[in-house]
Amino acid sequence: MSRNGRGFEPRIVGFLCNWCSYSGADLAGVSRMKSAPNLRIIRVMCSGRVDPSFILRAFQLGADGVLVAGCHPGDCHYQEGNAKALRRVLLLKRMLRDFGIDEHRLRLEWISAAEGERFAAVSTEFTEQLRALGPLVLARRAEVA
Amino acid sequence: MPHRMHLMVCAGTGCVANRSPEVRDALVTEIAKRGLENEIQVVTTGCNGFCGAGPLMVVQPDGIFYQQLSPKDVPHLVEEHFLKGRPVQKLMYVPPETRTPLPKMMDIPFFSRQRLIALRNRGLIDPERIEEYIARDGYAALAKALSQMTPQQILEEVKISGLRGRGGAGFPTGAKWEHVLKAEGEPKYVICNGDEGDPGAFMDRSIVESDPHSVIEGMLIGARAIGARWGVVYIRNEYPLAVQRLMIALEQAREYGLLGDNILDTGFDFDISVSRGAGAFVCGEATALVSAVEGRPGEPRARPPRLAQHGLWGKPTCLNNVETWADVPPIINNGGAWYAQIGTEKSKGTKVFSLVGKINNTGLVEVPMGITLREIIYDIGGGVPGGKKFKAVQTGGPSGGCIPNELIDLPIDFESLAEAGSMMGSGGMVIMDEDTCMVDVARYFLAFTQDESCGKCAPCREGTQLMLDILTRITDGHGTMEDLDALEEVAKVVAETSLCGLGTSAPNPVLTTMRYFRDEYLAHIGAHKCPAHVCRQLNTYRIDPAICVERGHGCGVCRRECPEKAIFGEKNQAHRVDATLCNKCGTCVDVCHFNAVIVE
């Protein structure tokens, strides 16, 4: 479904950690930086808060890609929250592969509060990547009965 | 069966240098050859005192004195005297003026006029056997001091005796001991100053060589009096024989329980260690000696505090000369009053002098205080050899001064010598005759003290250097009147402001020679002449044409030997010296067999 007539517009869910990536996004905004609007941001206190269930739930609700963004290693406001996120995402990517979902649809990025440019670049690039992958069609639930 | 005869062969350093041991060996072999070994015993003794007559021997019990023996005389001597009982005239001492030999030792004026206290055992005992020392009342004084007297009584005895330090300053020994007794600080030390750095002085050496136990006993008594725990003998390493005999004596004393713990079961602990001097004259000074013993450089320190309060290792220390310690046992044995009878009103007892220089009877002389110079020089010393005229005597070594002929009748004691500008000093007595140049003597002694100065304080270091420089210029003929005044001024200030004894006494030779022999100085400066012809640069050399031709037949030896080729002449003709070329080296005088060269 293309809303602005430019073909498939991927829907991306972004879990941004409050201290780094969320501020980075804010900085990008404040600095009037251009970036793809496809990213739907959900603020969490730390990337460690992102439960794999949320990611699966996002895909199940029709997201074409999920971005989890946290602080650079060592910069985490809670010292090691981002490390836990890294562990979960690595295992989850392996499971997504078994579920037949391209693991590139799930992306983990480190974006500090100062990297407004980087945030803009990541979200734009991710959007183009998903546009190439096309929509994620999962078996509709009502298929059986 | 005890021996009927004892041959006391002198083995002091002087005689040993003249090969006296060879004489002794010859005697021993000869006696053995004659089978007399258990009748006659050969004993090697310490220095007998008459060094000029060495190698010498005294035959006891009859006291016959033989001198200048050589091994080849021995067979004849043994046969004549020991077998046939006829003493050999040829080997006896012949006084210069009377030509008749004097067989008995005690008839010889050299010995008869002396009064032996410090040298009481010289020539009578073998220093390396303690038993002989004990046989002559050795350690009796110690026994008496330890068992019958309290330290206070010992001190009292020494005070009564009026004994004063024989090191040179003449500080009352009793007072010094009392200072150390009263000073706080444990343990206390007693030191025997055997440095004897003065050139020409060897009385300490012969005391230690011939009678080491007298020093040890003296130190023991002194230690008992002041409550000292340790003793140190500081002895010159250049006296190897003395060091060796001292070590033997200490060992023997320890074996007999006279040193170490609980001496003679009286609960008194005391021991003596030996510290060998490395040959610095300045280490004769008390504080320099102490720092040398402590292993630090031998450099005096400013006083006060005196050694009595802050001596060796910072503890109260009593330092006395070898002779002083040696005098203590007789004082204890015979009582202070006995000692006080000898000598003058302020200077009690006797003093050992080493009589050297232009004197017939060179050797050690122990005479009562108050004796006059004349008696020492002529009665004991046998006058000036070679018919020369007596000119002056230098007492106290480089720290002392020169006493002219006019004061020959000066009674000798601490005060009189000081008044004369000299000082008692260690006891060196150098006789000088007319052939001695007093300026050169002053230069010689100053060269010695300048070289031995430790260099710590400016007046002594720079002053001696400067005085030597002036004196050298005077003896080279370049001296000026200003030099003379400057010399006197510098000498006075150095004497007054120097830090230690060396500096304060170094100018004495200069000051006394200038006081009594100012004319010689003026001769050197004004007339550019050295009256005694010692300062070569001021001499002029001339050949007497008559003697050269008649006796020498113009042999030309002087012409060939002259290094500057300043002598001209043909064979059988009178030779003459060209004064302009002559460098005044004096070789011509030495080589001419006919004494044709006249020095003016």
């Binding site: 794999p52 269930s53 199940q60 979960r88 295992l91 979902i101 069609v137 | -």
Partner: protein, 312 residues
């Protein structure tokens, strides 16, 4: 009049049926208390017997096994109509169970795998006047509550006799628990685990190990020894039968009531305790979990958020 109960098994291994028999002598009490009207594995009642009953005449029907084909769907619907209470009996009915793992493929994939190059089954086969039909083989296996309204669930693979007893007690008891309750304690298995007190102060694993690679120590917590024991994510009730047999829990009692997707939660827990912050090292450790879906969704794939594998 004794209350009528019914038992039925859909895509099931038959374990749950035996579980009922496992009640041993207690089966007699059950038999006395109730009138079993339909139990194909044990009693010879036929489908048409049930169809003949008036609706709601069966007090409770215990259905185990997942819905795999149209036949099972039909009977499930039938029993729902005839029963007042339907109990999803066993994890297959509750979450899809082991059969649910078929969702990693579809009908075509499975037939290709099973019948390889042989004859594949045909829905309708006519042979000289007679016809033989097979039920439709669905692509996706679903749990019972996806097709009919389920009142209660009895977890387990199979449910233990104690759980079954308690369930029956609860059902026959006066006050029925709220509809949709899972009839088992609502805490994780660790609560009942005998090795509960041996857990380390800081549970961090440098190594994960496969069950066949090591002989686990009998006393200490299996997860602490590096085995992927899913006890912390699994509902208690089985009194840690597997752990008493020195084998790590595989999650057959399903998640606790607060967890929507068992696999995601189990994955999150196991990933979180990996003791490394370095991507390379984490990947190396994760090599010990070659089949994440098989490990975390062993019994609950059909009821998971994604439900099945996405086919090209």
């Amino acid at each position: 009049m004794k209350p009528k109960v019914a038992f039925y098994w859909c895509a099931s291994c038959g374990g749950c049926e035996e579980a009922v028999v496992d009640l041993d002598e207690k089966i007699l009490d059950v038999a006395n208390a109730v009138d079993i009207v339909f139990w194909p594995v044990a009693l010879d009642f036929k489908e048409h017997d049930v169809e003949a009953m008036p609706d709601g005449s069966i007090l409770a029907s215990f259905i185990n096994g997942a819905i795999r084909n149209s036949d099972q769907l039909k009977i499930a619907k039938l029993l729902r109509a005839k029963s007042q209470v339907v109990v999803a009996f066993g994890v297959c009915a509750q979450l899809g169970g082991i059969p649910g793992l078929a969702n990693m493929s579809d009908a075509k994939g499975i037939f290709a795998e099973v019948y390889r190059d042989g004859v594949a089954p045909v829905r309708l086969h006519r042979e000289n006047g007679h016809s033989l039909s097979l039920p439709e083989f669905f692509d996706t296996v679903v749990a019972l509550d996806r097709v009919i309204d389920v009142d209660y669930y009895v977890p387990g693979c199979p449910p233990t006799p104690k759980i079954i007893g308690d369930a029956l007690g609860a059902l026959l008891g006066s006050n029925l628990p709220p509809k949709g309750t899972v009839l088992a304690p609502d805490q994780a298995l660790c609560e009942q685990c005998p090795r509960k007190d041996t857990r380390p102060e800081k549970l961090l694993l440098k190594e994960l190990k496969r069950v066949h690679q090591v002989v686990a120590d009998q006393q200490t917590c299996l997860l602490a020894q590096g085995l992927a024991c899913l006890g912390p994510a699994t509902r208690a009730g089985c009194e840690a039968m597997c752990i008493r047999g020195n084998m790590p829990c595989t999650g057959c009692f399903g998640p606790t009531s607060r967890v929507r997707d068992f696999g995601a939660k189990a994955l999150s827990a196991i990933a979180s305790v990996i003791d490394s912050n370095d991507e390379g090292e984490i990947t190396r450790i994760l090599e010990a979990l070659p089949d994440p879906v098989g490990t975390f969704y062993r019994y609950s794939l059909p009821s998971s958020l994604l439900g099945r594998r996405r086919m090209e």
